[in-house]
């Protein structure tokens, strides 16, 4: 085992070791339950950064990246499955986000969970999650990826339901798990289909053979589409895309650091990562790509429209996450893989920042999440305010912060690749995003204070273990776009991702990206997205207030105008406020109808023989045998069932044996 292989192994061993240790002795560490877990993750982060540096900057492992087999799961026959891992440029990009946000969330949690008696459990779960997520990005075959896929689902279940005493938390956890399970079915079927058609599950081999098989017609186009859609179903579940998006907002029942880590920066990106990873497969099916783009952009606008009216600060962010994930899928669908990964990275940082910031706010106002009961916090929580403002500007897409570059890249690529409708919807979403983010900022930080008077005097800035991570996250949120995305179309990210998506670009017929033309189409597109972003921000500022003390800028909120607008758009408002009734619809379709079907089948099992028997009984009575009414005895019914089944089997053998 080489040093690098050892390091990759350590990358997995540290978090799982931390999990085991914390689970075993964490309870006895009392206040310091975090010490093992955080230590393990910091070490993980250091190793990860070393690997990232080697991969992306030194190009130490070549274009293909580092691949190795840790051990063979089943060492014989063609039934071989290995525990093999890979670190390539795509993995490295994910490692940056996962490890950095993960580490900062761990640090943040020290303060956030300081008063929770179950904190040792929390840190154990966090480590378990980090292990699963790292396994997910490092896995080099589909079965291992699937195992990690289930594991992140499990750790997410544990973390959402962390406060299991709260009914809503337990229910949300269950919902998340079960909805994910629906997606997993698709993913599992997709993996089975790959096994049958390609004959292996190892990524390098699968992706090498897929184009050849498609070309030679062994895999028909419709099969390829089916394959891609099955895998995509898995992504839809994990990344909460329409129509499986319903679990994510509920998942906000978990502690806020969890929301930041899992439901913004890491786990929900797993679907995007998987589609990007399997790009050679997806590009073989244009119709699947089209559908992915459609689902993505629809989710984006749907979620943005819901975020408009939500009052719970975390729910706004949750819907915003859905919407941004939708962007990423739209990018994948239009073939802009690099842009999708770029947005994944920037979004991971600024959304992690926003969530942690919201956690700081909630912590500051003593566990209040309703934005109507906040306001005027900018003065009392200056660090939280500033960092969240950076995050908000970043997500709104105002240059030169991170969000602008990645979002513009997506929209630009959509236009250029012939998906003008995706661009058009996307630009509307950009407008809405800017608006609802500054609505959030206005309601929370500016405007008059609606904080509970009892709490008001005790509102305070959060402890350092919470603000430092905020500050640290604000830096990449601000500069990552420039660092990776400038010059537009030829930035670092393009260089990094080029080897990963080379084949896909070839299939799609993309050549080298042309240099950015300020006065050409590029300039127009960039200008358009900046314009709508600014428009959205300004509108929100007018309605919900704004204040920049240094520049002397300030605006008062105008609740009357908001009220009037709301009244005029009442149906839209109601729809948005009730999340377009998706939960009710789901309840109706899946829970009620599913229950009905299950009950029906159960009834079938119990009563079919009974029914027949009762019919016979009725016949018997009428034929005058004078049988009295007797309670139904089961054994004879069972025996009759067995006898009839025996007859069916015998007849079956007779019929089949005649061949």
């Amino acid at each position: 085992m080489t040093t690098d292989q050892l390091l990759v192994t350590l990358l997995l061993a540290l978090p799982i070791g931390g999990f085991a240790l914390t689970a075993l002795v964490g309870r006895r560490l009392y206040q310091r339950a975090w010490i093992i877990a955080v230590g393990a993750i910091v070490a993980t982060w250091l190793i990860a950064m070393y690997l990232v540096y080697n991969t992306l900057f030194l190009n130490a492992y070549g274009a293909q990246g580092l691949h190795f087999t840790l051990y063979e799961w089943i060492p014989a026959g063609d039934f071989r499955i290995e525990a093999n891992f890979a670190v390539d440029n795509l993995t490295a990009a994910l490692l940056i986000v996962v490890c950095t946000v993960g580490m900062l969330v761990h640090v943040y949690s020290i303060g956030y969970m300081a008063h929770d008696p179950g904190r040792w459990r929390f840190f154990a779960y966090l480590n378990l999650f980090m292990f699963s997520m790292l396994l997910l990005v490092l896995a080099d075959n589909f079965l291992l990826l699937f195992a990690a896929w289930e594991l992140v689902g499990l750790s997410s279940y544990l973390l959402i339901g962390f406060w299991y005493g709260r009914r809503s938390a337990a229910l949300a956890a269950k919902k998340a798990f079960l909805v994910n399970r629906v997606g997993d079915v698709g993913f599992a079927l997709g993996i089975m289909a790959i096994w049958t058609t390609v004959g292996t599950l190892n990524f390098p081999e699968v992706f090498e053979r897929i184009p050849l098989l498609a070309e030679s017609g062994v895999i028909q186009p419709w099969q390829m589409t089916g394959l891609a859609l099955l895998l995509f179903l898995g992504a839809v579940g994990k990344s909460a895309q329409f129509p499986l998006h319903v679990w994510l907002p509920d998942a906000m029942e978990g502690p806020t650091p969890v929301s930041a880590l899992i439901h913004a920066a890491t786990m929900v990106n797993a679907g995007v990562y998987m589609v990007a990873r399997a790009n050679p497969l997806f590009v073989q099916s244009p119709s699947a790509m089209w559908l992915i783009a459609g689902v993505g952009i629809f989710t984006a606008i749907l979620a943005a429209s819901i975020a408009f009216t939500q009052r719970d600060i975390k729910r706004v962010l949750a819907y915003s996450t859905l919407s941004q994930l939708g962007y990423m899928f739209a990018a994948l669908g239009v073939g802009a893989f690099t842009a999708a990964i770029f947005h994944l990275m920037t979004h991971g940082f600024f959304k992690g920042l926003l969530f942690l910031g919201s956690g700081s706010v909630i912590h500051g106002v003593h566990d209040e999440q309703d934005m109507n009961r906040m306001g005027g916090l900018w003065r009392k929580m200056p660090i939280t305010h500033i960092t969240m403002l950076i995050g908000a500007i970043a997500i709104a897409g105002i240059p030169p912060l991170a969000g602008f570059f990645s979002k513009d890249e997506i929209l630009g690529q959509a236009w250029k690749n012939g998906f003008v409708w995706v661009w058009a919807i996307g630009i509307v979403v950009a407008l809405m995003t800017a608006f609802y983010m500054f609505r959030l900022m206005g309601k929370t930080f500016y405007g008059p204070s609606n904080v509970d008077p009892a709490v008001e005097p005790r509102v305070h800035e959060s402890p350092r273990s919470m603000t430092v991570p905020l500050l640290l996250l604000a830096i990449p949120s601000a500069v990552l776009g420039v660092a990776l995305g400038f010059p537009i179309g030829a930035g670092l990210i393009e260089q990094w991702m080029e080897p990963v998506f080379e084949g896909a670009n070839e299939v799609l017929g993309r050549g080298q990206a042309e240099p950015f033309q300020v006065l050409g189409l590029d300039g127009f597109l960039a200008g358009a997205s900046v314009a709508v972003a600014v428009l959205g921000v300004l509108a929100a500022m007018r309605l919900f207030g704004f204040r920049v003390p240094l520049l002397g800028l300030q605006a008062k909120p105008r609740p009357a105008v908001v009220e009037r607008l709301t009244d005029r758009l009442r149906p839209l408002y109601t729809g948005s406020f009730h999340k377009w009734f998706f939960d009710d619809l789901n309840d109706l379709i899946f829970v009620r109808a599913g229950g009905l079907v299950a009950r029906g089948l159960w009834w079938f099992d119990v009563h079919i023989i009974d029914g027949a028997v009762n019919g016979v009984a009725g016949l018997t009575q009428r034929s005058g045998r004078g049988l009295r009414h007797i309670q139904t005895g089961r054994v004879q019914n069972y025996a009759l069932g067995i006898a009839l089944s025996l007859i069916v089997v015998a007849v079956g053998y007779f019929v089949a044996g005649g061949r």
Binding site: V613, A617, L627, I630, Q636, L640, A643, L646, I647, V651
Partner: protein
């Protein structure tokens, strides 16, 4: 005195006559077992059916099996069954309702199964069978039992031992008073106190058990 080769007037072989007699008797008695309204008569019909079967075994040239049939079935199993019938008769006499209300369906199933079996037998060819009956030497049977079939023979003894150990436990009367039953404790939830509630709830079944025990004790 030598018998004529065939039965006078009917012109069938003596063996065939025996076959028809025993076979008919066996089936008729078997029908008596399943159709009889009085369970005790059913038990007696079963003995008759077994006896006829023993005759068929003898006819088939397996005297040892015939003897065992008489000893084991008529001598042991039937007596056991009759005892059990006595023990479980309620005082009101035989149940007035013999058949379950699905008897029609049962009859239909049995007839279909019979059709299947008979059609199979009629159409079957047995590669190893010969046209003529062969006879069994009792000595060979004994030798086989301790040679080729020694494992089954030993296992049977273990099986009987197991049946006796468990059977004695299940059938023997208990002196303990309050039965602990889940049926009785149905309504009792987790939190209730162990002694009182579950005992009270079970008292119905308890009394039934005691009555049953007393009742059994009074019987000879």
């Amino acid at each position: 005195m030598a018998l004529p080769p065939t039965v006078p007037y009917f012109d069938i072989a003596w063996d065939d006559l025996l076959f028809l007699t025993f076979g008919g008797l066996m089936l008729a008695a078997a029908l008596g077992v399943v159709l009889g309204r009085n369970i005790i008569r059913s038990g007696l019909a079963m003995i008759l059916s077994f006896a006829a079967l023993a005759g068929i075994y003898a006819l088939l040239g397996a005297p040892l099996v015939a003897a065992a049939q008489v000893l084991i079935y008529i001598g042991a199993i039937s007596v056991l069954v009759l005892f059990a019938i006595m023990l479980t008769q309620s005082k009101s006499g035989p149940a007035s309702l013999v058949f379950h209300h699905q008897a029609w369906a049962a009859a239909l199933a049995a007839i279909v199964l019979a059709l299947l079996l008979v059609s199979m037998v009629a159409g079957a060819e047995w590669p190893r069978a010969v046209a003529e009956r062969v006879h069994t030497a009792t000595g060979d049977v004994a030798r086989l039992l301790f040679d080729e079939f020694v494992l089954p023979f030993e296992v049977v003894s273990v099986l009987l031992l197991a049946a006796v150990i468990g059977g004695v436990f299940l059938a023997k009367r208990e002196d303990t008073d309050v039965p602990e039953t889940e049926a009785g404790a149905r309504q009792v939830t987790l939190g209730s106190e162990p002694g009182g509630a579950s005992g009270r709830a079970a008292s119905g079944i308890a009394s039934a058990t005691i009555v049953a025990a007393e009742d059994l004790g009074r019987r000879p």
